[in-house]
Symmetry: C2
Subunit: 368 residues, 2 copies
C-alpha cells in the first residue's frame, strides 16, 4: 500500500516525488538549521516588513533565533513585528520545535546583529544593498564552509531542515533567480499586504546593471549571481543543502526565497536536487501575488509541500490576520510544521500546532 | 558476562565505572567536538611548546582544526610543530577521524586566529596573560551558550567527545585547579621535555594575587576562577559537557587540562560527573612528570581511560620521539583513538591507528 499524505499537508508540486519524500522522513526526527543574515537591501523604503522600521530589521534574524532557543527574545523587547504589529512567523517555528524537540542549529551567513545564542560562523559578511551590484562578499568561501557543516550535520541526522530569516530576502531572491535566467518577475512573495513587485523589479534591474556584468555571464555562475544581487543567507543555505543532500534528505523550509536557494544548489551540483524538497505554508501555496510552483518547476523536478496552517479560527486577532495574506512564511514556519507532523507520524496536527502557537502568542504578545 | 576492556585501552582510574562507560559507547559513533582558544599565557617564555615561537602559537588551534577537516592546514604551511620540530598531536586525532568518520564540530572559546572551517561561535574573547589576574572575559556567557550547543548536539548524538587545542593550557589548568582548591602543583602535564612546574606555579601565584580576590572566594565559583587565571577553552568545554551529559555520555578527550574542565563541571553541576569519563593517551597515563590520576581522584569518581598508542615501532623518527615524553596529548589524540576503537568494536586497534598516522605523517611532514 502506498504512503498516504496526511490531511494537514498539501502537495503543491511533483505528487509522486512528494509522497516519496514524505514517506522517507515519516516518523523521523530531523536536525533543524536556520540560516540568518542581514542585507542593506531590507532598508530600501517599501520593500520589507520584517521589522517595524528599517533599522529594526537588523535585529529581526537575531531575535528570531533567540525566540527559537529561549522561547523569548533577548536582543529586543517583545518579538519582531511588521509595521502593522503582526508578530514574526518565528512564533510558528518555535511552537513546532516545542512540540517536537528537534536539535536546533543557527547558521550565520553574515550578520550585522548577532544573536545571543551559539551559532555556526562561516566567516560571511553582512550584505550590501543590491542596487550596488556588489551585494555579497566572497559567497564561495561561505558556500564551501557551509558544505562542510552540512556534511557533518548529515552524519548525525536522519534528515536536515534548512530554514531562513533575512529581511529583504524576497527581493534578493528575485535578483538571483533573474540573474540565473529564470522568469521570476511577479512571482516572489512578500510579507507586506501589497506585494511591491514593481519596486523589487526596479531594484533588481538597477543592481544587475550596476554589476557591470553581461546578463548571460551569470547563468552558469550562481556565486557571481549572489555576489551581485543576492544576500548572505543564500550561499550558506545552498552549501548546507549540497553538503547534506549527498547522504540524507533535505527539506528547504521557506517560500520563494528557497526557490532561489534551490536554483543555486542546481547551479553548484545538479545531482543534489533529487534529495531535496521545499516545505512551506498554506499561505504561500495559495498566495495569488506570488508563484512558488512556477519558480520551482522552472528549476527542476523538486516536490513542494505545504503545511495547512489555518489561523482563521484563532482566538487572537494578531494570528487571524495571517489569513489575510500578511507575513505568510519565515524562520521555516511551514517546514517546521511539516517536520513536526512527520516526526510524530501525524499525531501532531495543524490544529495541535495552532494550539501551541496560541499559548506562546498569549505569553509573548497579547499581554505586553 | 561482563564487558571486557580491549587490550588497546588501559583503565587508569575507577575500574568498574570505566568498564561501564566503555560498554555504553561500544559500537557507537560519537559526535566529535574540539574546543579551541588562544591565551596570551602561551607566550610567556618557557611555558608552552605548541608552536615553534610565541607568535606562532596563535595559529596552532586554527591550524589543528583545518588539519581535522581538510587533512592539511590552510592558515599555515605544513603543520604546527614544537620548537624541536615534533608535529602536532592533531595528526593523531585526524587519523582516528579518517578511520571512523565521526561528525566533527569545532567550537571557539575565544580566538585570535580563526580557522578556515565552520565553527560554533559562543561570543568568547581570546584570553589574556593569567599574570594579570583577569585572563578571561565573561566566561559565564560562553558557558551558558555552550550548554545550549551541548544540549542540541546531544539530541542527535550517541555520545559526545570534547577535545581541546589551546597552547598554554596546562598552565591555566594549574591556575583554575589551584583556585578551586585542588592540590595541583607538579601535577599538570607539559608538551615540553622538561615540565617547567616551578615557572607554572609562579605564574599562577602571580595571577591569583593580581586578581585581588581572597583564595577561598574562588572555591565555589568556577567562573570566577576562569575569569582570573583560566583560559577561553574552559568555559566552552565545561558548558558543552554540562549540556550534553544530562542525556548522553561525555568523553573529555585530553590530559590534565581536562581535569580542570572536570573541576569546572563539578562546580557548575555536580550531578553531571556521573555521565563523564576522561579519555587520554598512554603517554599521559605513564608520565612521571604529571599526575592526572591524582587530579581526577581529588575531583570525583570519574573514570580515566588511556589509548595505548605506542610509536616506538614507527618508521618515522618524528613519531618515535613521542615515546620520549614530548607532546603526549592534544586535539583529543587519546579520546579520538578510544572513540575509533570503541566505534569499530575493537576492529580498529592502536596498531591500525599508527598505520594511518604514519601515512598522514609521510604526506604532511617527512616530505616537506
Amino acid at each position: 500500500m502506498s504512503f498516504k499524505v496526511p490531511e494537514d499537508i498539501t502537495v503543491c508540486l511533483e505528487d509522486e516525488l512528494a509522497r516519496k519524500f514524505l514517506e522517507s522522513i515519516w516518523g523521523k526526527m530531523p536536525t533543524y538549521t536556520c540560516v540568518i543574515g542581514n542585507t542593506e537591501t531590507a532598508k530600501i523604503p517599501g520593500l520589507s516588513a520584517a521589522g517595524a522600521n528599517p533599522e529594526a530589521t537588523d535585529f529581526t534574524p537575531a531575535a528570531d533565533m533567540e525566540l527559537l532557543h529561549y522561547g523569548k527574545c533577548k536582543c529586543i523587547d517583545g518579538v519582531p513585528v511588521t509595521p502593522d504589529g503582526i508578530p514574526t512567523p518565528g512564533i510558528v517555528a518555535m511552537s513546532a520545535l516545542k512540540l517536537v524537540p528537534m536539535p536546533l542549529f543557527v547558521v550565520s551567513g553574515g550578520l550585522r546583529v548577532k544573536p545571543h545564542v551559539p551559532f555556526f560562523e562561516l566567516d560571511g559578511a553582512p550584505g550590501d544593498d543590491i542596487r550596488t551590484g556588489r551585494s555579497v562578499k566572497d559567497p564561495e568561501k561561505v558556500f564551501d564552509r557551509a558544505v562542510l557543516a552540512g556534511k557533518n550535520l548529515a552524519k548525525m541526522s536522519n534528515y536536515l531542515v534548512i530554514a531562513e530569516s533575512i529581511p529583504g530576502g524576497t527581493t534578493t531572491a528575485l535578483g538571483v533567480l533573474t540573474a540565473l535566467g529564470y522568469d521570476a518577475n511577479g512571482k516572489v512573495s512578500s510579507t507586506l499586504p501589497a506585494n511591491p513587485h514593481d519596486l523589487k523589479i526596479r531594484v533588481v534591474e538597477e543592481g544587475l546593471k550596476a554589476s557591470g556584468m553581461r546578463r548571460e555571464s551569470f547563468k552558469n555562475d550562481p556565486m557571481a549571481a549572489i555576489e551581485a544581487v543576492g544576500d548572505p543567507m543564500m550561499a550558506a543555505a545552498a552549501g548546507l543543502a549540497v553538503g547534506a543532500a549527498e547522504t540524507v534528505p533535505v527539506l528547504l523550509a521557506g517560500g520563494t526565497q528557497m526557490a532561489a536557494v534551490l536554483a543555486i544548489v542546481k547551479g553548484m551540483d545538479y545531482s543534489m536536487l533529487s534529495n531535496i524538497a521545499i516545505g512551506t505554508t498554506r499561505w504561500i501555496a495559495k498566495d495569488g501575488n506570488s508563484d512558488l510552483r512556477s519558480l520551482v518547476s522552472q528549476i527542476g523536478k523538486v516536490p513542494v509541500l505545504a503545511a495547512n496552517l489555518n489561523f482563521s479560527t484563532s482566538r487572537y486577532d494578531g494570528l487571524k490576520i495571517y489569513e489575510t495574506g500578511l507575513v505568510k512564511e519565515g524562520v521555516g514556519a511551514g517546514g517546521a510544521s511539516i517536520a513536526a507532523i512527520a516526526a510524530s507520524e501525524g499525531k501532531i496536527t495543524a490544529r495541535t500546532i495552532l494550539g501551541e502557537i496560541e499559548k506562546n502568542y498569549a505569553r509573548l504578545v497579547s499581554r505586553r
